[in-house]
């Protein structure tokens, strides 16, 4: 059941009514039932993987909770004797849960890639290709569940005792397709709380959902048509047309993913649940690091807490730090191990996107830019001082935003092209075969979109940027709307709704039911 299907709207309406009409203590059961119906509608067989993850991480959580209690109850003397053994048992528990789940993810998502790559490297290796279908949202729910296991290992909170309440945390339907990757202590309590219908949270939820549908149906769907057209044609296009298509891809990806997340958060909001934010206006990022802190935030913080910190503080990295400080010295010697850990994180994020050399290259691209900018920080601030440019300068901020946008733009060639080599030749064409007059001689109208559709995409993204600019300045749009006249409030609902109906729903040719991030 896609978020964009009419059935889904009926589904939401039905479960909202049941949720608020049934006795409050049954509300979480309604959410679990809705989540089951939603997930099963995508194929009954896929639920097996979800069950494996739920059961294994639930049991690991319970076992870790028991070991934590055992550790806390020990006398000082016993602690000295047994704490090492307890720690090993706890680590083994986390290891098995992670091994089982990431192993499953590996087989489903990366096995065929390994078989192909090995086949090319070692002719005759003949590993079988499995062609397994990837279950809906598997990497999102595995990341979320393993985060929970590690938190219980760290004794951050008590494990959930009720397996069904835990199953709801793993499978909560608004987030299961493409996140956000929630934290147990932030989400679980909300899922099982008793709620009265709250008009404001339902209204805010509807507004956020509508904004999401506007971005997805009106902007992303259209932009995608032109993007597909150009990328399917490969390098036959002029560099300027390719660059225009990549710009449209940036628009499509942002509106598709952030629109999808707005729909998820909006729907959760209607049930009174405040899900973690996943975007903080990445378009205003002043560096690539800042960009990744604003884009897909829940994945970034997951990586930070569960991979980056443990890696950067591990013994081998500590030893490496001592070695580089002693033998290399200076800034490079000081930040080398942390830069290496950063590099590894971006490499993992690259691979997380999919089993393909172009995603590995994408990870490298980000890793190289970010680690080199860390090393060059001192040099840059020296240049700024010599030129007399203040760090607070508005012009410098605009320059940084444009520079970041350019770096992101280049990275998008790599992720969208069907193959890495195609991406490189399209990049080459952009820089070596760029004829701006092609943008005005009617070529753009031969790429699957008519003039009206192109203008809709551009006007749509201008509206999105304007709204985000207001938010960047600290204005809360939905709250500030309430202070406006009744007419303005209604227009704020009716204009986007009319746009969604006229330009989205009634223009079926531009509707893509799938979300790009659902495949990751």
């Amino acid at each position: 059941m896609s978020f964009t299907s009419p059935v889904f709207l009926g589904f939401i309406l039905f479960f909202l009514l049941v949720y608020y009409l049934l006795p409050r203590r049954l509300q979480w059961v309604v959410l679990l039932a809705a989540s089951c119906v939603f997930y099963i509608s995508g194929g009954i067989r896929m639920i097996a993987y979800l069950l494996i993850t739920t059961l294994s991480t639930y049991l690991a959580g319970r076992l870790l909770g028991w070991l934590n209690e055992k550790g806390a109850g020990l006398s000082q003397e016993d602690k000295k004797l047994l704490s090492g053994r307890l720690r090993t048992q706890k680590r083994l528990t986390v290891f098995f849960a992670a091994f089982l789940n990431f192993g499953m993810l590996y087989v489903l998502k990366y096995w065929d890639f390994t078989a192909h790559a090995l086949g090319r490297l070692i002719p005759g290796s003949n590993l079988p290709v499995l062609n397994l279908a990837i279950p809906l949202g598997i990497s999102f729910y595995i990341f979320q569940s393993i985060g929970y296991v590690v938190d219980v290992y760290r004794d951050k909170y008590q494990p959930e005792k009720n397996p069904f309440k835990f199953a709801l945390f793993v499978s909560f339907f608004p987030q299961i397709i493409q996140g956000p990757i929630s934290r147990f202590d932030q989400l679980a309590g909300q899922l099982t709380a008793l709620r009265e219908p709250n008009f404001d949270s339902i209204k805010y939820g509807i507004q956020l959902t509508m904004w999401g549908y506007f971005k997805k149906l009106v902007i992303a769907g259209r932009a995608g048509v032109l993007v597909d057209h150009v990328f399917n044609g490969g390098t036959k296009y002029d560099g300027s047309v390719i660059a225009f298509a990549v710009l449209f891809y940036c628009i499509q990806l942002y509106c598709d993913f952030s629109g999808g997340i707005d729909i998820s958060r909006g729907i959760a909001g209607m049930f009174g649940i405040d899900m973690t934010i996943n975007f903080r206006r990445p378009i205003f990022a002043v560096s690539l690091t800042d960009y990744w802190r604003r884009w897909h935030i829940s994945l970034g913080t997951w990586m930070k807490d569960y991979v980056f910190y443990p890696l950067a503080l591990s013994k081998p990295f500590g030893r490496l730090g001592k070695f580089t400080r002693k033998h290399i010295g200076g800034t490079v010697g000081k930040i080398f191990p942390t830069s290496l850990a950063t590099f590894i994180i971006y490499f993992i994020i690259g691979i997380w996107h999919g089993a393909n050399f172009r995603y590995i290259a994408f990870g490298f691209w980000n890793g190289i830019i970010i680690t080199s900018s860390l090393i060059l920080t001192g040099f840059y601030s020296g240049v700024r001082k010599r030129l007399g440019i203040s760090d607070q300068s508005r012009l410098l901020r605009v320059f940084r935003i444009l520079r970041t946008a350019f770096l992101v733009f280049i990275g998008r060639y790599i992720t969208r092209a069907p193959r890495l080599l195609t991406a490189l030749s399209m990049l080459g064409a952009t820089f070596l075969n760029f004829h701006p007059e092609r943008l005005f001689d009617g070529t753009l109208l031969t790429l699957g979109l008519d003039k009206g559709a192109i203008i809709t995409v551009l006007a749509g993204i201008v509206a999105v940027i304007y709204v985000e600019l207001l938010q960047e300045r600290g204005i809360e749009i939905r709250k500030s709307l309430e202070k406006r006249s009744f007419l303005v409030q209604w227009l704020a609902i009716l204009v986007p709704l009319t746009a969604i109906i006229l330009l989205g729903i009634l223009n079926q040719e531009y509707i893509s039911a799938e979300f790009i991030y659902a495949q990751f």
């Binding site: 503080l313 942390t338 950063t342």
Partner: protein, 74 residues
């Protein structure tokens, strides 16, 4: 404490560490700064800081960082 202030100012110049009370919550220190500071602290003060200690409460102010060092000192 002076030694800690020196480490902090060298790692992130331009921040008023003596008075700031929301270093993490206000986004003045990022994860990269934290790791650099923690590596220095582990070296200089022989404190064993683990991943579990890396929570905002322990890094929001110089006093909080100092309290963490005292707790984890060998």
């Amino acid at each position: 404490m002076d030694e800690l202030l020196r480490i902090l100012s060298e790692t992130c110049p331009g921040i008023d560490f003596e008075n700031e009370k929301a270093l993490i919550d206000d986004g003045l220190l990022d994860s990269f700064d934290i790791i650099t500071i923690v590596s220095e602290i582990m070296d200089v003060f022989s404190a064993e800081i683990s991943v579990e200690d890396l929570v905002p409460e322990n890094f929001n102010s110089v006093q909080a960082i100092w309290a963490l060092i005292e707790k984890r000192r060998n």
